[in-house]
Amino acid sequence: MSNDFGILSCGAYVPRLRLQRKSIAISNSWFSPGLRGLARGERAMANWDEDVITMAVEAARSCLQGRKRSGVGQLTFASTTFPFDDRQNAGVVANALNLKSSLAVLDASGSQRAGASALSAAFGSSAGSDFLVVASEKRQAKAASPQEMHYGDGAAAILVGRGQPIARLIGSHSETVDFVDHFRGRGADYDYGWEERWIREEGYQKIVPRAIGTALKSAEVSPESITHFCMPCTLSRVGAAVAKAAGIKEEAVRDNLAAVCGDTGTAHSLLMLAHALEDAKPGDRILVAAFGQGCEVLLFEVTDAISEAAARKCVSATLARRKEESNYQKFLAFNDTVVLEHGMRSEMDKITTLTSLYRNRDTVMGMVGGRCRCCGTRQFPRGRYCVNPECNALDSQDDLPFSDTPATVMTYTADSLTYSRNPPHYYGMVRFEGGGRLVMDFADVDEGRMEVGLPMRMMFRVKDYDHARGFVRYFWKAAPI
């Protein structure tokens, strides 16, 4: 493989809410006192309006920051919790990112290693364009289950292509074994798992070292030379045990982010890889081993170009955008684990007019507005006539995406009347830097922490759930920076 081919950039998104595991344990102690043993740290918890697609979009935006999006020619999106069984989930992400339509996309699923497998496949791609791999997960868990403790919601993205890579792939191996540690059958909401001791001893500790050994051998790399070992598993001590069995130094074992985020499923291998790249120095070797009905092993060597990428610290940054949540009941409600009385206002039909959505997809999904060629006025949404009363020119606007434009709050309210899954609902008018304004839903606002002039950024979020038809409507919301 040539020297200019490799990882160009990485991105991450972990939802801002972090559910305290202690809250889970306390609420369930009457039923499952054993959970107290897991009640350390916090797990990432998607807000009510975040799902696998919205998190993927944010991770991809983080990854593509400062890059020309026109270079992306391929996109694979990995998850086992896609909102759509039949609608290209990657296509939704692509539309939100305003990627060009001459784009090859694929949804990868079926296993917790799908994210790493997608990344491996990206390295095997012969097309010349940049390849964006994004993985995102939001798994449901039954109340009082160990999974509820282990899992976390989150997403990560890796851009592979030619240029000045921050890391090059120097070895890989795919091992496929139908080892069913857990499964989720068609239409099931929850995983069904087998005994943890068996999974650790017969699964991780046997399958993973074997796969690592094969990868290292073919790359002619010694296990001692590995400086960062990413084992995306939050079961206790698995990373260390696998490292020992594979001959990798104990100090190379990376933090599995269990304490600060939880296991983000298909995204976790990429999240840990991105995290490792934050700390990496030129020449470091990063080994990623993703377990799931076999094992995907990826071996990277860090290049001299790392310093700039490392400085961005995308994982640390998203982890730092954090709010402690100790209300376990809210977590249950957001995940529909308990059924709240939402009231009659929630019953309004949320059907999305697909013809209209298609005609307006750039506006709605990509937040593309216009800039008038005659008077320069920036406006969202685009109208046939320019909104400037001194201009009103017809069809005079060039496309102008607003999703990355900073904004400030001009007016706002906290509405307790409207139907919201997280009342009171904050919304108001924001002004975009350079022109344009919109009355928008707000996201991630802490009660009482809103004021005129507050800086905001756009985030891709769920607008409405159409439960009657299984559709999800997306749009952009303004969130405090």
Partner: protein, 400 residues
């Protein structure tokens, strides 16, 4: 050059049902209640009505679309009936249609009608309105109180007002309207309240609490209009004539162009300016005898005082707290209780305001009668501050 409609059309008669939670009534019952009063007041028979404008806003409840609900209920004899809907300005819009029909000479006698049966939704507050297939996809998840509440944040930011001071003025507005409404037998809410009640009420949409919001009511109101000559021929004296009816509709400028600052309603300013010109008024503060404005929320009433040019920009709080708009103040506002207490059956509200003006100017307002009012203004506003329909109507003693 258009001459406007000043004194070309007079109110022959009006009717208004009792507003409120009329659980026992269909919309049709409310319509008949208002219509019977209106026919008696006008002194005509239904067959003399040559055209009608029918205002209803909410398709989601109420009577459905088209002019047929009015024609069928009132058994109108195959006359043109135009259904109009223009948000909360629907009632005034119906009035405008009827007035223009008479002013144009197309008909001699026309009917303007508004009705809304809101209390069939099963939940408090206004019904949820459909918004159009595209708007649904990007408009905020907003309600009427949430939209108008935003005036407060922008107003305080613009004038450097302490939100507590604004809230106190808003409370005064509601206390005044309750005091007025308590004297009106047709009003929905007839209880007196205190400033403390307002300040301590549960929050609906910050900073609007329960007592900052108008009543959600069932009701109907209507007007029969004709020319001054015909009215006189029918034996009418002390005619109340239409001085101006103006409407202004947002064109996206407030919502999408970087000029409007969120602290006022631009359409009200445009409509008021045109209405004053049409009515020949150059100093509204000294010339208007009384006003009934669209106080859907207390803060709306407050900024409307500035939008109508009665209070100076940034000075409405002072005028309100000084009692300028109280029943015994310089310009009594909401003497009938306003939307706040008379209630707000959307399609009927604009006509309900005119009903009170007609009573006051013709000296028939009973316990609420003001001393010799000559010119009255009504203001009807629908939508939300950044995108709305605003109507300003001025009526008064014929020839005044």
């Amino acid at each position: 050059m258009a001459t406007g409609i000043r004194d070309k059309v007079v109110i022959l008669g009006m009717g208004c049902s009792k507003f409120g939670e009329r659980w026992d009534c269909n919309a049709e019952d409310l319509m008949v209640e208002a219509f019977e009063e209106c026919l008696k007041d006008a002194g005509v028979e239904r067959k003399q009505i040559e055209a009608a404008w029918f205002g209803t806003a909410a398709d989601e409840v109420n009577v459905g679309k088209s002019g047929t609900p009015l024609a069928v209920t009132l058994r109108l004899p195959y006359i043109p009936v135009t259904r109009v809907e223009n948000f909360c300005a629907t009632g005034t819009e119906a009035f405008r249609g009827a007035v223009y029909a008479v002013a144009s000479g197309a008909v001699d006698i026309a009917l303007a009608f508004g009705v809304e049966k809101l209390k069939d939704t099963g939940y408090p507050g206004l019904p949820q309105f459909t918004r159009g297939t595209f708007n649904n996809q990007y408009w905020a998840n907003m309600t009427a109180p949430g939209n108008f509440a935003q005036l407060a944040s922008a107003y305080c930011a613009k004038y450097g007002v302490d939100p507590k001071e604004l809230k106190r003025a808003m409370a005064h507005i509601s206390v005044k309207s309750h005091a007025n409404g308590s004297r009106n037998p047709k009003a929905h809410l007839r209880n007196r309240i205190t400033e403390e009640d307002v300040l301590n009420a549960p929050m609906v949409a910050e900073p609007l609490g329960l007592y900052d919001c108008c009543g959600v009511s069932d009701g109907a109101a209507c007007a029969i209009v004709t020319t001054p000559d015909i009215a006189r021929a029918l034996g009418k004296k002390d005619l109340v004539s239409v001085k101006a009816v103006q409407l202004a509709v947002s064109n996206g400028e407030e919502a999408y162009f970087d000029k409007w600052d969120g602290s006022y309603v631009a359409t009200t300013r445009a409509a008021a300016k045109r209405a004053y010109r049409e009515a020949g008024i150059d100093d509204p503060r000294s010339q208007l005898s009384l006003i009934d404005v669209h106080d859907c929320f207390s803060v709306t009433e407050l900024v409307t005082m500035e939008d109508l040019g009665i209070s100076q920009d940034g000075k409405a709080i002072g005028d309100v707290l000084d009692g300028f708009y109280d029943a015994d103040g310089g310009i009594p506002c909401q003497i009938d209780g306003g939307l706040k207490c008379f209630g707000h059956p959307v399609g009927a509200s604009g006509l309900r305001m005119l009903y009170e003006m007609n009573l006051q100017i013709s000296g028939r307002a009973g316990e609420r009668q003001l001393s010799n009012p000559v010119l009255g203004l009504t203001h009807n506003l629908g939508g939300w501050p950044s995108q709305n329909v605003s109507a300003v109507t001025i009526v008064g003693a014929y020839g005044a």
